[in-house]
Symmetry: C2
Subunit: 347 residues, 2 copies
């Protein structure tokens, strides 16, 4: 977990981000001294809610851009892991009264929307990391499941990010704090990348690749698009740029991975970014695919994360295979059933 | 409209951003050469929609952070200007199928959500500015109606931003474009600030002030809050920072004004940022005010913008005074009635 990368500092960082039992520790001594902590943008609070009872069994936090996508993922993962709701109940948007983010809980899985751009995902991460602390969650794993522009990849390709760089290819999140720049490495968990890659199925009718992800603070000029309200460069200059970053290993471009990687890494939380490409930027700027195609593409990274979650729960003896079944999103070859064990962590 | 500030370059910029009839011209020669322009994050397109017919009569674009707030503003302004919907119809979220932003149209007023942070408002601005171009809107005025942390101001104070600065007090938006930094001045329209200030009513039970707004890319560490997931500074260091920026004229802090000011200024669009303060950062970090109080506070900048819109429409003979009436948000002393004149611009 260390920028130095040596085992002594790794151990130091581990102590800063974990208690002895593996539960999340905050790199902020102030929170435990507060009477209550209001998670304003989640419409939750440590004084108003029993966060241990509500969220203590969370293991996976899956984030996506839009409320719609994370609601759909919640239903999908519920079907995939065979999670049953009590009769007469339905999923509820836990953060509905924040009007900022949407959050659904399906057993050990939280599905949360992060909006667009690094500031939006950054606010969410601060509050979800604090939520993990308040709920005494042990070793959670965070996923960002998103969309991106591909470079040299056919639309519908799934990209697992090896690392994240900014618009000038720097692998850091630079943030002004009290008027001075603070630099945090945007590192993703390498083992998690390998584990996810290993879950690619040869029968998948699309590619699952790994590579570098560029994260920008603008969708138009910042990603070299010529179709924004402003454009001061030529097609040749744009192609030079895209080819140059491609040669540096960049295979896709989106707007959240740098902050997501930097903040989860700083918190000592294993995390991965899995995005589907919705356009090949070497062939165009506009997103022309029909809605139905885009919808199907967006299921692909969800399916990969679902495989990871099911594999984990199966290994922990928390999932039993059931008869064949389908799902609202991607057909799964086998259906699982979550063995209910309330009020207990999955580690 | 020029960074140089001389009248020759002002005239140059005017020609770049306006056609002879005052309609919005894009600083991007590519758009008019495209067969169609898909405004992806608005779920609109120049090929799929008759944007002139739908939006040609827009004069004011009012943006706020959340879908809820802009829906509420749409109903409020409808009541304020006496806009009548045809019997059996209701307001519709025009961009509902983008799942990104919400957009409502009430006669000459668009009410649009921009999410949180500069990248999110930036994407929206690119697409709304293009929408103004496609719809041939003349001299639109953009407002951001938001919330902010105040510095030395009681909660519930309305701040009209004189200018916007970033987290290190620079009045620019720095954006990497094709790997190189592009710097754009974050200027707001000074006349609009004066006009809005003049609409403060001595009977308003709260202050309406003008001042400098700091715009950050993070809500916690980036705004000197000690209650995020991470904190490496002391209370004394935080207070030094807040007092220092206060001495430089900063009266509130939020997360969108810099991009909003820079992009509207670059597009030659008159714009203003009006935020209510929801906490005095000199006295704390957490937002503790009850929901009902926060809801009432958020109506205050809406009421000011409504006064501006009503004054404009009255001057143009587009509004007639009607009998006394109320509104869903803030009681207005007089009620107006919009004189319907479809398919015609308000200038």
């Amino acid at each position: 977990m260390s920028a130095r990368g040596d085992s002594a500092s790794d151990a130091e960082d581990d102590q800063r981000t974990r208690y002895a039992d593996g539960s999340v520790r905050l790199r902020n001594p102030n929170i435990e001294l507060m009477d209550q902590d209001i998670l304003y943008h989640l419409a939750l609070g440590s004084g108003s809610h029993d966060l241990v009872a509500m969220f203590g069994d969370v293991k996976f936090v899956c984030m996506g851009g839009t409320p719609k996508r994370v609601e759909q993922f919640a239903h999908f993962i519920m079907d995939e892991i065979g999670h049953k709701l009590p009769t007469g109940t339905t999923l509820l948007d836990i953060s509905q009264f924040s009007y900022r983010y949407s959050m659904y809980k399906v057993g050990p899985v939280l599905s949360v929307s992060h909006g667009m751009g690094m500031p939006s995902v950054g606010i969410l991460l601060h509050e979800v990391i604090k939520l993990m602390y308040h709920a005494r969650v042990k070793d959670p794993v965070f996923f960002r499941i998103g969309t991106s522009g591909g470079i040299g990849l056919e639309g519908g390709t799934v990209v697992i990010s090896e690392d994240a760089v900014d618009g000038v290819l720097q692998p850091y999140l630079d943030l002004p704090v009290l008027g001075k720049m603070v630099r945090r490495p945007a590192q993703l968990d390498k083992r998690l990348v390998r584990e996810l890659k290993a879950l690619a199925d040869p029968n998948d009718p699309y590619d699952i690749v790994t590579g570098r992800t560029m994260c920008t603070s603008d969708f138009y000029e910042g990603q070299g698009r010529m179709d924004g309200a402003f454009c001061d460069f030529s097609e040749a200059q744009k192609m030079d740029f895209l080819n140059k970053v491609h040669k540096c290993g960049v295979v896709n471009i989106e707007m959240e991975s740098l902050s997501f990687a930097a903040l989860t890494h700083h918190a000592g939380i294993r995390s991965a970014v899995i995005c589907v490409t919705i356009v090949d930027r070497l062939h165009g700027d506009q997103i022309m695919a029909p809605k139905e195609v885009l919808d199907e593409w967006q299921c692909r990274p969800q399916a990969l994360v679902s495989r990871y979650i099911k594999r984990y729960l199966t290994m922990k003896g928390r999932l039993t295979m059931a008869g064949p079944g389908g799902s609202v999103c991607v057909k799964s070859p086998r259906r699982f059933k979550l063995v209910q064990q309330e009020s207990e962590n999955y580690d």
